[in-house]
């Protein structure tokens, strides 16, 4: 129980720390979007009082960029705690709405990629270890090293150019832009579900093909090591079925050290969505980062930052809990070297 309390406290602390850091940093951004916007409004409607226009905007934004740091900080976090992310001038939208519209899509791609990535890597790595030294092992080792050397966005570009565009079957099934087919509305319909999956496939694939190699090679190394452990030999002598030894003995024990990789890859993938969603014109949360920075839309930037961090923290939290379940040594261990 104590462990859960501690873990939850840590998660909350992380959220607070990252949010504060982001708040501090975004206030250092050069350029003043409010001023630009006020000028714009005044140009169109010269009869309005600039001061009133300005105060209207600031009210919507929740924070006055010109307010002293501590006042702005308290005001902003007060609003956050009451569940209000603010308003984006750039998107012309309430940020709660915008985030609700975008975050699930990013998480969807990430979940698809994570499951694909781990499914492929773990199975492949284990098979390679069992067939150590065979042609299968060697060729996959080489292939893994080559694909690992490709940045995810390069893979994305190659997928767009060579799979997405050539006239033919692929474009039809795996579109290279947008998150849904035209005219399909969210809902529990076949068109929506299949559309969402098809549109998310290529972005997710860009992660998977560029990350599976390293993970598969680690899995291979771990499996080889576990295969040399006494308990595997004893299990064989006890006459256990090979399947059980492969899954319950080798697989389970070889996967555990990859846990840190899982954690890091979640953060990495969410960060990478900033680039990937851009080239796939996939309007998730990362897609808006470019606009936010370009137009110094601080509330938008803060919201994106917070959402991505919350996602990482929650994913890490879930992964931590699962890990305790997978490795019995953790929970009873005094310090709980969970990572």
């Amino acid at each position: 129980m104590n462990w859960y309390v501690k873990r939850t406290g840590q998660a909350l602390f992380t959220l607070w720390a990252v949010a504060s850091l982001a708040f501090f940093l975004t206030r250092q951004m050069p350029g003043d979007q409010v001023a630009t916007y006020v000028d714009q409004v005044i140009q169109n409607n010269p009869e309005q009082d600039p001061e009133i226009v300005r105060s209207n905007i600031v009210e919507q934004l929740m924070i006055d960029p010109n307010a002293p740091f501590h006042e702005a900080y308290i005001a902003y976090f007060g609003e956050l705690l009451s569940g209000n992310l603010g308003w984006s001038i750039e998107a012309q939208k309430n940020l709660n709405t915008l985030m609700a519209e975008t975050v699930p899509w990013t998480l969807f791609v990430m979940a698809l990629a994570t499951f694909g990535l781990f499914g492929i890597s773990l199975a492949l790595g284990a098979i390679m270890a069992y067939k150590e030294g065979s042609l299968f092992d060697l060729s996959n080792t080489l292939l893994g090293m080559v694909t690992t050397s490709i940045p995810y966005y390069v893979a994305g570009i190659l997928l767009i150019i060579y799979i997405g565009y050539p006239e033919g079957v692929f474009t039809q099934y795996f579109p290279v832009r947008y998150k849904l087919p035209d005219g399909v509305d969210p809902g529990f319909t076949l068109a929506f579900i299949s559309g969402a999956i098809r549109h998310a496939t290529l972005p997710a694939l860009s992660y998977v093909i560029t990350a599976y190699g390293l993970l598969a090679l680690s899995m291979r190394g771990n499996s080889i090591q576990v295969l040399g452990e006494d308990y595997v030999r004893v299990a064989q002598l006890r006459g256990l079925p090979d399947r059980r030894i492969a899954l319950r003995y080798v697989g389970r024990n070889a996967v555990l050290p990859l846990y840190t990789s899982l954690l890091l890859s979640i953060g990495f993938m969410l960060g990478a969505s900033v680039i990937l969603e851009q080239i796939f014109v996939y309007q998730g949360v990362g897609y808006w980062m470019d606009r936010a920075v370009q137009y110094t839309d601080i509330p938008l930037m803060m919201a994106i930052f917070l959402m991505i961090t919350v996602s990482v923290v929650i994913a890490t939290y879930i992964a931590d809990l699962t890990y305790g379940y997978l490795d019995p040594r953790i929970k009873s261990g005094d310090e709980g070297e969970a990572y």
Binding site: V154, I157, V274, V312
Partner: protein, 379 residues
């Protein structure tokens, strides 16, 4: 028995009185030289030999070496020492390095190109411009070579920065334990939870860095956290090892224990993670240039060429000029492939378990392991 470096072999003959057991300073002139030689051999020559015997590290070293060589030559050229072109002239190469600005091949409007140059030439058509030219007549290969020194500077800065921070944080936290450990590891956990790229984008927008070393550091601003975790866990187990405990009991100071007993055992992790950080620097800087988050005035990075192809030339559009974006991606992949090869080979270099398994003589290990227990009588 363990990896602890032993000086005893060299200094044995001099130390006759027990009281001066640990005082090497005055003991040996000859020994010191000998010792350095040994350290040099064990630390450098021997691993290098093993590294060279593995095809992966060998290929990796060749690839990285080629990049370093190109970077040096290109850098010299950019500073007025045209050794590269002198050499190319002697060999009679059709290509030579020129600043990849549009003014060179063609005029500002991209017309009236100098003889031999033309706009939008495809790769492998003409050896004067082996990788083709862009719509402004710029030599793409020259652009790649031109950007190489800056790329390597970023890689070096980012790699060194991240492993330095990781090693310091990880070692201190792991060795000191207690409050120091808690504070440092909480910090590390926070850093691990920050989504790296968005943070970097914000910092880049604030600082607008152009210095390659600064860019390298900014990009790895939280990359160190993952490695620091690994190192901390490693140090935690190392400090309980009996030879470390022995050093502590003898009253050897913490810095010296960390330096002599702990760090050498961390080298594998440090080496391998240097490579991964370096790879991360390549990915992220190119990505940032590619999307235009990092500002540029000339072809400062391969990502700049990609950005230009993507944003200005519509290279990703169905019938866009694809070669413009594909060609600059090649050196990115090649450079990271060199790094990956090196790390995979290094991994084996430091992992005797994987190594012996391959050599296939497990027999003796087995027999030895069996009876590791202390048996005074039969020694």
């Amino acid at each position: 028995m363990k990896v602890k470096p032993t000086e005893e072999d060299t200094a044995d003959d001099v130390r006759t009185d027990g009281g001066q057991m640990f005082d090497d300073a005055e003991s040996t002139d000859v020994g010191a030289v000998q010792e350095y030689k040994e350290v040099l051999y064990e630390g450098l020559v021997a691993p290098a030999k093993i590294a060279w015997s593995d095809w992966r590290t060998k290929t990796g070293i060749i690839i990285l070496g080629a990049f370093v060589l190109i970077a040096i030559l290109s850098d010299l050229h950019q500073n007025g020492y045209t050794i590269l072109n002198d050499f190319l002239g002697i060999v009679g190469s059709p290509w030579e390095l020129t600043k990849p600005s549009s003014a060179f091949g063609c005029d500002a409007n991209g017309n009236n190109c100098v003889a031999g140059y033309e706009r939008s030439r495809q790769p492998f058509e003409n050896w004067q411009t082996p990788l083709g030219t862009d719509p402004e007549g710029r030599d793409i290969f020259a652009g790649i070579v031109w950007a190489t020194p800056r790329m390597l500077r970023m890689v070096l800065a980012g790699g060194v920065f991240s492993i330095a921070v990781a090693t310091i944080v990880g070692t201190v936290a792991g060795y000191k334990g207690g409050v120091v450990n808690t504070v440092l590891m909480t910090l590390t956990d926070v850093a691990m939870s920050i989504p790296g790229l968005p943070l970097v984008i914000v910092i880049v927008a604030i600082l607008d860095p152009t210095n390659p070393y600064l860019i390298g550091v900014v990009v790895t601003i939280n990359v160190w956290a993952g490695l620091a975790r690994t190192i901390q866990a490693q140090v935690l187990s190392l400090r309980e090892q009996s030879y470390v405990e022995a050093s502590r009991t003898m009253g050897i100071g913490t810095p010296s224990i960390i330096q002599k007993d702990i760090l050498p055992n961390l080298m594998p992790y440090i080496m391998v993670n240097f490579v991964y950080s370096a790879r991360r620097v390549i990915y992220d800087t190119v990505g940032l240039y590619f999307l235009g988050f990092l500002s540029y005035s000339t072809i400062a990075n391969w990502g700049v060429m990609m950005n230009w192809a993507y944003a200005n030339q519509g290279a990703l559009a169905p019938s866009g000029p694809r070669y413009l974006i594909i060609v600059p991606m090649a050196p990115i992949v090649l450079l990271s492939f060199g790094l990956i090869l090196l790390s995979q080979g290094t991994d084996r270099l430091f992992n005797p378990r994987v190594r012996t398994r391959h050599e296939g003589d497990t027999v003796e290990d087995h027999e030895m392991d069996d009876d590791d227990s202390v048996q005074p009588a039969m020694a």
